[in-house]
Amino acid sequence: MGIDSLLIPAVMFFALGVIAKLINSDLKFPEGMTKGISIYLLMAIGLKGGMALGKADFQLAIESIIWATIIGFILPIIGYGLLRFKDKINPFDAAAISAHYGSVSAATFLTAVAFLEMSGVTYESYPIVMMVIMESPAIIVGLMIAAFTRKRLAAKEGTQKVKTEWGPLLHEAFTNGSVVVLLGALIIGATASPESLSKVMPFTQDIFMGVLCLFLLDMGMEAAKKLDTLKKAGITLVAFGVIMPLIGGTLGIIIGGTMLGFSIGGTFLLAILSASASYIAVPPAMRYGVPESNPSYYLTLSLGVTFPFNVVIGIPLFYQMTIWYIGA
């Protein structure tokens, strides 16, 4: 299973994208194409989740939502602690970076779904709901830490304190485009009639895997572009980009397997969610809300280190760990 998982087309197209950049090819997606594809992917996965959720257990859904919120709050706090250890990383950078790790990456999640489907493993719909929920809490944690830091520094230095503008930031945390499309499609998938949904499925189901390949080709190029900045980031940050998903993934397996009683497929997906780091919703929020932090760090880490780590190592690893933990 281990190396096999790397030979699914989705992962191979990711590798192709990385190689394209490493050999300095001029391959480039036209502006807007990746964003268009990601709207499609979110819509498709949302509809799929919604259709499954329509037949799911209400109480377990609520419990999933609660645990998703808890994970979203805990992970950035753990991350912040790690980064501030021995005062290695300054508090603003630490706050902004760790916020990315409490949130999620839909592309990682979808690659994991592709992995399960290629292997014929079934999974529950709850992780899709959890993905929606986990977009937001981490942003709030990141902003709160930055606000406290700002207050403390202002008190110490006696300078005029910069007020955090909570309004627009909280708003952004809960209404960013990914959340809206995912949640909206989820509700539509759960409420529209099955016959009417079946007309939509050739678009949202049949061609899904192929579109994902195209998307991962571009993600590979983006990830590789970040490699340059890696040197500047330094060993501490790069190590963080590998250790943090290991912590998140382990936490996800425990919560999925024990607290929520998911099957192997569902537990594995929750592990991947927890292990993954955001690179769509959180970066703009941190740029706007924590302007004191250096933006080149967080994208480098989430896209250049953690995303490829999860796709290449995390997916087979967490799958094995889940089987071992739950006992196949």
Partner: protein, 106 residues
């Protein structure tokens, strides 16, 4: 015989696209209701902005304004700059044909 034009400033402001709405708000508060926006990429101290994702794109605003309105705006933008926002601003002397509808010719 040349068409009468009146003098003012063209203000160029380059910011990350996440601040787009905020800057529009600032302009409006200053009574600057006219502006032009261009999607931009670039490089500088906050790294390459290659236009790939929303957070890595720039916007270039061009605002034609009177000399005095320009001074006021510069002061305010300077404050944001001091707060840590990456904002790049420069001005040119300009001659404007549309004297009537923007507050340039006093």
């Amino acid at each position: 015989m040349s068409t009468k034009m009146c003098t003012g400033k063209s203000i160029q402001i380059i910011i990350n696209s996440t601040f787009e709405n905020k800057l529009i708000h600032i302009l409006k508060k200053n009574g600057l209701t006219g502006y032009t926006q261009l999607s931009a990429r670039g490089d500088g101290s906050s790294g390459v902005q290659d236009g790939h994702s929303e957070g890595e794109s720039n916007v270039m605003f061009i605002v034609l304004a009177s000399n005095s309105a320009t001074n006021t705006l510069m002061e305010q933008l300077n404050q944001y700059r001091n707060m840590g926002y990456h904002i790049f601003v420069y001005t040119h002397d300009a001659e404007v044909l549309n004297s009537d509808k923007i507050q340039i010719c006093q």
